[in-house]
Amino acid sequence: MVTGQASLKRNGVQDYVTTRATALIMTAFSLFMGWYFIATPDITYAIWNNLFSGLAMKVFTFVTLVSIMFHIRIGMWQVLTDYVKAPGLRAFIQFVINLTAFVYVVVGLFVLWGV
């Protein structure tokens, strides 16, 4: 999986499975957060801090961030190969998008580490 994700050549089956698996994780995280906001009447800093202090929540959040990165990598490659036909421009946009997604993961990791 790691080798496949790191390579430039895309694999249809692997991309198909990865986008669906990551979509499930992102949906679960979104539903959980939605439920949390509805079920918690007053969200103070202490409550918010307490939510992310547990190891399970840290892992869940980090896994979701990594899922977003993989989902973006595959999804945006598909969108860009549809609409941007110039290879140089497409490679540049992909680089910026993938880098941004990776930065989100790194920043998220440090934020979670500090809670």
Partner: protein, 236 residues
């Protein structure tokens, strides 16, 4: 009763750019007709108008056009089924225009050829008379073999518009599954190898435009889903 039509006109030998030309056709009050009949009547008035047609009964698939924004066969689409005060007829979208409503279908046929649309059987001793199938085996081909290759589906598919050189398209994939599902075909692995990449099958995102426009009522999305399942089962 007056029938208002707007038809896409483009003759690359003469025109700098395509244009829409308005036509009026007098028909008896309450009379219904197929869009192809209207086009034939227009051609009698204006012989420069070009379109393809052959069987005029929805079997040959020659007269696939875009009518009021939806692909279909002109010969089996009644005027009464089209909404609006004007009938707008354009060539199938996404395909290069040869002239007026006539499109160049080379890309479509190239993709069709890729899936090897013929029975492959490597049995050393083929049966002397015929390949027998059980009724259950034969039933698996229903909804697949009826495709007439009119290209209404592939030319309504955005994935085919953007990648006509790499994505097989709904018509080609429907035929691919027709042979994958055939009990007499022995080239399943070879066929799946040819489809196992990021574009050929997996560029289908299941938006089902193909199902919506198919004049034969077929379901290419379902067939593509079966191919995806076969590729997945092979990979896991």
């Amino acid at each position: 009763m007056q029938l208002n039509l707007s038809v896409y006109r483009y003759n690359p030998d003469v025109d700098d750019a395509p244009r829409m030309q308005d036509y009026q056709l007098e028909v008896a009050e309450g009379q219904d007709m197929m869009v192809l009949d209207a086009l034939i009547a227009l051609k009698e008035k204006d012989p420069t108008l070009s379109f393809r047609r052959s069987c005029r009964e929805g079997v040959c698939g020659s007269d696939g056009v875009n009518m009021n924004g939806k692909n279909g066969l002109a010969c089996i689409t009644p005027i009464s089924a089209l909404k609006g005060s004007k009938i707008v007829v354009r060539p199938l979208p996404g395909l290069p225009v040869v002239r007026d409503l006539v499109t160049d279908m080379t890309q479509f046929y190239t993709q069709y050829e890729k899936i090897k649309p013929f029975l492959i059987n490597d049995d050393k001793q083929p049966p002397s008379r015929e390949f027998l199938q059980s009724p259950e085996e034969r039933e698996k081909l229903d909804g697949l073999y009826e495709c007439i290759l009119c290209a209404c589906c592939s030319s309504s598919c955005p994935s085919f518009w953007w990648n006509p050189d790499k994505f097989i398209g709904p018509a080609g994939l429907l035929h691919a599954y027709r042979f994958l599902a055939d009990s007499r075909d022995t080239a399943t692995d070879e066929r799946l190898n040819g489809l196992d990449d990021a574009f050929s099958v997996f560029r289908c995102h299941g938006i089902m435009n193909c199902v919506s426009v198919c004049p034969k009522g077929l379901n290419p999305t379902k067939a593509i889903g079966h191919i995806k399942s076969m590729l997945l089962k092979r990979a896991v």
